[in-house]
């Protein structure tokens, strides 16, 4: 494997992402909403036991859960299917590079673009908080940025897998949006419904929650913010009592598995079917 080729392709992806109107729209929306949330949080700082970065982090969790997976999934879904449809993927692979280099280059480039967009949103929001004198609990805020980056890259990886399995860019984006809808809106409801119908125990319900990368992020972010999971009810209490200090590393490891596994599957499928 040639690292040089991967870097060249990653640079190209970064460049292309800067000109991708959907990506720009998401990035601007995320930054704008982050700033708005920070502004609102700062105006009522201290009333609810949280201030500065901590309070903004709490507000940001729902925004991240909504926008970040959408960014990652759509960007990933368009990456291979769109270029396959255009014919540019075929031309790239006619060069002295191999499929893994191409996929890694594209993945790393897009992951960096997502991380840069999140860093911009978080950075400007941090600046606003700092200017207004709310500098407390910055470590919570930084951990939230790390978790958001992991969620973004995991979503990108799932989008990549969708992109490797379908031929058309429009189909890939459609599937990505459908999956986003399921993960975001039906994640909690589905869990509750399943628990009621199947009469699941708390440990089973917790195991089920761990299968959704958005739930992983949510649990990790709340744990980071409050240092306990009482807000999540019996399942949260069970998880916190069972895993204790190992819970955050466990959740981060599972998010990493959500990054590696879909990408590995995408690579396998892409190699198997070729560029057509």
């Amino acid at each position: 494997m040639d690292i040089g080729n991967i870097l060249i392709l990653a640079q190209k992806e970064l460049r292309d992402a800067r000109k991708n109107r959907w990506f720009l729209l998401y990035a601007i929306a995320f930054t704008g909403l982050s700033l708005a949330l920070a502004w609102v949080s700062l105006s009522g700082a201290g009333n609810y036991g949280l201030a500065g970065f901590g309070r903004t982090s709490a507000s940001l969790i729902n925004l991240i859960l909504l926008i970040v997976p959408l960014m990652g999934l759509t960007l990933g879904a368009l990456s291979l299917a769109g270029e396959r449809e255009q014919g540019s993927l075929l031309y790239l692979l006619a060069q002295p590079i191999n499929q893994l280099e191409l996929l890694l280059g594209k993945f790393i480039g897009l992951a960096l673009a997502l991380i840069a967009a999140l860093a911009l949103g978080f950075g400007l929001t941090a600046l606003l908080i700092a200017i207004n004198g709310g500098g407390a609990q910055i470590s919570i805020y930084l951990t939230l940025l790390l978790l958001a980056c992991l969620l973004a890259v995991a979503s990108l990886s799932i989008g990549f897998l969708i992109s490797a399995t379908v031929k058309r860019g429009a189909t890939a984006v459609g599937l990505a949006l459908f999956l986003w809808l399921i993960l975001v809106f039906f994640g909690d409801l589905g869990l509750m419904g399943t628990a009621l119908v199947l009469e699941l125990s708390v440990d089973q319900l917790f195991a089920l929650a761990l299968m959704n990368p958005l739930q992983l992020f949510k649990i990790a972010a709340i744990l980071d913010l409050r240092n306990n999971l009482e807000i999540l009810g019996p399942v949260g209490i069970y998880a916190f009592r069972t895993y204790g200090t190992q819970l955050l590393p466990l959740l981060i490891s599972l998010l990493l598995i959500w990054i590696i596994t879909p990408f590995a599957l995408a690579t396998f499928l892409f190699k198997k079917r070729g560029i057509l």
């Binding site: 040639d2 040089g4 540019s88 006619a94 060069q95 002295p96 590079i97 191999n98 198997k272």
Partner: protein, 284 residues
Amino acid sequence: MIEVQHLTKHFGRLTAVDDLSFTVQPGEAVALWGANGAGKTTAVRCLLNLIPFEGSITLNGIDVKKQGKAARRLTGFVPQELTFHDDMSVAETLTFYARLKKVPTGTDFSDLLARLSLMPHIDKPIRDLSGGLKQRLALALALLADPPILILDEPSANLDIRAREDFLFLLHNLKQAGKTMVFSSHRLEEVTALADRVLLLEAGKLVVDTPPNELEQRLGWHTTLHVYLPEQSINPALKSLTTYGWSVNKNGRGVRVQVKPGEKSKVLRVLYDAGIEVEDFTME
């Protein structure tokens, strides 16, 4: 040298290429010729190991399946149409592909660009280039690392007549310079102008492997010759040509003659010997 052995490619139940075997000697230009759907493009993609296939292909002794990257390093590929990187300039595109092809940094491409008349367009975004210029750029990209083998997929399919003639002239010069070429085409004039050998594909099978000048003979084709004559010469011409056994009939400003391969000039000689003035002629 290119060696293709028992190349077979299935798409579901469809056999796109069926047990195709051929070799291409260094410096030789070989055309994969056939109608749409004959398997030409699939064969070209297999040569670059872009799709999985059965059989074996080696480029200068390198197995494309086992050492795809090394094999592709020996080739320059010209697709049917350059359909990407619309927002990148010609210079940026050249730099990007030069880096992928490991062309040493600082290499001067001005000679290559001048040869392909791309110099005045170096700063233009690709979306502003005409079809002919895009195809020239594709050729420039293929030649960046000066590879010994060129693989071209219907290189002039999307060009107008003028651009096609210019492009064929460039390819002819590259052939003269010793490049080994494999190209797919469905245009007979392109094949006869450029190829040393023609491989006729039908439904994925190799039907004929022949030099282009023997193609008509091998296929048993008849050519229709339209000979334009003065009004008073038409009947004498009909009489003279009929005695040689050709199928002849009157056609507006002259006569129409069905001839076997290799007999076209004989028609003109017979008319000349009979003292009949030929104003013009066309072939069909």
